[in-house]
């Protein structure tokens, strides 16, 4: 029976003073008991607004009802009808801006912890060895999936279930895209990502790592060899500030900082070969998820002081609130209303300090957030030895340069129609490659949409 008097259940977490020193997962997940208790809070709305907030429209009340009744398998099956990576989305989805913000309980009290429940059933499934039951009717036609982020993973699964012969190509030596190289272990353990990649193998998807499409294999060749192609190449190219001092040693793009730390496991150096130099006073520029991840890695790499340098205020920060709070708990210091002017160096070329200018908030800009305006003559210096630029990323040119005939937008993203078809016959695209910096769940949804479009195309040859 629903019971709205139960308070929202807290998820057990590693204590801040402990987790500062390790890369283990911070949030420990609900126990079955906590999950059932939380599930009882859902009042099973006739018109469930929460579903509108979920980009892949999971039947949220239905899966939560199963949990409240203790039928975890039923719950997981329900979730998996729409979301093939619940263990990942339950951890990293910006739930508070999506499904949970729409939950009616949120009006008077706290919304149902939908994301945490989703994570719970996914982890339960993994522990008990749950497997979807379905039968694949093999088809002769073949599809190439480029990249291995959430867009490509979900596209590959669906295409395989439709019966196509699917080969997935990843440039790096590990599959998973940002889930593997960007999002840190303490937020998304890599064994969860590897588990999903392993499932692809078991489903019969041919996963080819260390293969760069456009270099190793030309795009025309690929198109000749496969009946259709999905491009999930992401938006992995780093952005810099274009200010003085970006040549200094000790200045990293967030991508470099995170790739060294996560993909290359620099936190286990010298057992792992790739080093990272993280100083004692670290400044991270930006306040999105990427910035939080970099700042929290810096804490764990042993920095004494870590600052988030942000030109607006906490309220406007684009990062997930939960992760911003986690960062603050771990001792990260948020410096609001400052913008970098230049980075200053020592005589031998290392970062010594950053010059910042104070900002104030003006009228809202096109994004609806208050526009930050520099305050004249308010420049000041702050001593730092490491600077991480976390301003977001843009589409990777590696592939796009090779295929000039592929239509792109003025922002460098791939141009697609509503079925995610590009201007090239049989070529579809989705995820960050199309949207710019977006989210895991949007990428995942795109992968599924593209799989349906490709299926339609391969069945009747039109489009």
């Amino acid at each position: 029976m629903p019971n709205i008097h139960i308070p929202r259940q807290e998820m057990p977490k590693q204590a801040p003073e402990d987790r500062r020193d390790n890369f283990n997962e911070v949030a420990l997940g609900f126990t079955a008991e906590l999950a059932q208790k939380e599930a009882q809070r859902c009042i099973q709305c006739k018109k469930p607004f929460c579903i509108d907030g979920c980009p892949v429209e999971i039947d949220i009340p239905a899966f939560i009802k199963f949990i409240s009744e203790g039928d975890f398998e039923g719950a997981l099956k329900k979730v998996r009808e729409e979301n093939l990576l619940p263990g990942i989305c339950g951890r990293v989805c910006p739930q508070e801006q999506q499904c949970e913000i729409q939950c009616v309980l949120g009006k008077k009290q706290e919304p149902v912890a939908i994301g945490r429940l989703e994570r719970f059933v996914a982890d339960w499934g993994k522990q008990t060895g749950f497997d979807d039951e379905f039968h694949i009717e093999e088809k002769k036609k073949s599809v190439a999936v480029v990249g291995s982020g959430p867009a490509s993973i979900s596209c590959a699964i669906d295409l395989r279930r439709f019966g196509y012969q699917v080969t997935l190509f990843e440039a790096l030596h590990k599959a998973g895209g940002v889930l593997q190289y960007g999002i840190p272990e303490f937020r998304l353990p890599k064994k969860i990502v590897d588990f999903e990649i392993n499932n692809l193998d078991e489903l019969g998807v041919d996963v080819k790592i260390n293969t760069v499409i456009g270099q190793h294999v030309e795009f025309d060749e690929l198109r000749g060899f496969f009946d259709a192609v999905f491009l999930g190449t992401g938006a992995g190219a780093p952005l810099f500030l274009n200010i003085e001092g970006e040549k200094l040693k000790g200045l990293y793009s967030a991508n470099e900082f995170l790739i060294r730390t996560n993909l290359m496991k620099a936190y286990k150096f010298p057992e792992y070969d790739t080093p990272i130099i993280c100083g004692n006073k670290v400044g991270v520029i930006g306040a999105g998820n990427v910035a939080m991840d970099a700042a929290r890695c810096a804490v764990r790499l042993g920095a004494d002081e870590v600052y988030i340098l942000y030109r607006r205020t906490k309220k406007q920060a684009p990062a997930r609130l939960e992760e911003l709070e986690n960062a603050l708990e771990e001792g990260v210091i948020l410096k609001e209303l400052v913008n970098p002017v230049r980075v200053l160096g020592t005589d031998d070329g290392w970062v010594r300090a950053i010059e910042l200018i104070m900002m104030e908030l003006g009228e809202p800009d096109s994004s609806g957030r208050a526009r930050p305006i520099p305050i004249e003559n308010s420049e000041f210096e702050m001593e730092l030895d490491t600077v991480v630029v976390a301003l977001g990323t843009k589409p990777n040119r590696l592939f796009l340069n090779k295929v000039p005939e592929l239509e792109t937008t003025p922002w460098g993203t791939i141009q697609v129609d509503e079925r995610l078809k590009t201007n090239m016959e049989g070529v579809y695209a989705g995820g960050d490659a199309v949207r710019g910096n977006a989210t895991v769940i949007l990428a995942l949804g795109d992968g599924r949409t593209a799989a349906r479009s490709i299926h339609a195309y391969l069945q009747n040859g039109k489009h």
Partner: protein, 279 residues
Amino acid sequence: MKYNITQKKDIGGTDYLLEVEAPQVAERIRPGNFVVLITVPNGERIPMSVQKAEDGKIAMFVKKLGKTSRALDACGECTTLEAVVGPMGKPVELKKFGNVVFVSDLVCGHAENYLFSQVFSKIEGNHMISMQTFPTKDEIYPEEYLAKGLCDEYYLTTKDGSVGLKGHYLEKLKELLDEGRCDIIFGGGDIPSLHELAKLTRPYEVPTIVTVRQIMVDATGMCGSCRVFVSGEMKLSCIDGPMFDATKLDFEDIISRLGMFKEAEAKAMEWCKQQQECK
């Protein structure tokens, strides 16, 4: 999938030849490309130039420098590599330039010199001139690994004059420039030498294209570690390069950041010795 090592042998000084089976890569390597190797499961991604690509195999010259290169050298039972990725980077245009010169004075440059000489000498209308500098006679590679037999004109120099011409390639090159015999110059190897090369050729206005070896992590254009500045504009050596117009490069920046991980590399070496993986 692992990649079989088919040959590994010392060729001179601290350099060794590494040959691996990688048919798909071998088929596509062009002058200007490089590959990325991962030697062991916990390994880093290291970029390498290619000397020769034949029969499904690629050969590289590797200097015993730090942990990765030394551990691979010392490991007798290592018969495979974890990954051979490539070709990476942008190849140069294969065409008739006239007098094509390649100069090199260090391991990677010597590998590139070989491949360029092999390819450009076969293009009709090119006169291929190769110059290679070694410190002394003792470090010179066996003849089969030099560009000597592959080009139309060849100069070997040693810094102490023990074999060939005495001095660095820069000195001999100046003579050719004065005679007006260079239409394009390619260069690889020691970065400060390439800086000198740029200073030398600038007044002659001869196109001078060199390999930049900035530190790489992913080598797929995602991290920005390999950024270099060409006429002030930021470029990524792994996807826009690794070859750039030397006269426009900010060499001070390249040299400064190449040394960024010196301390960490020393620590890795020490660890490697403790584990008895490096000699």
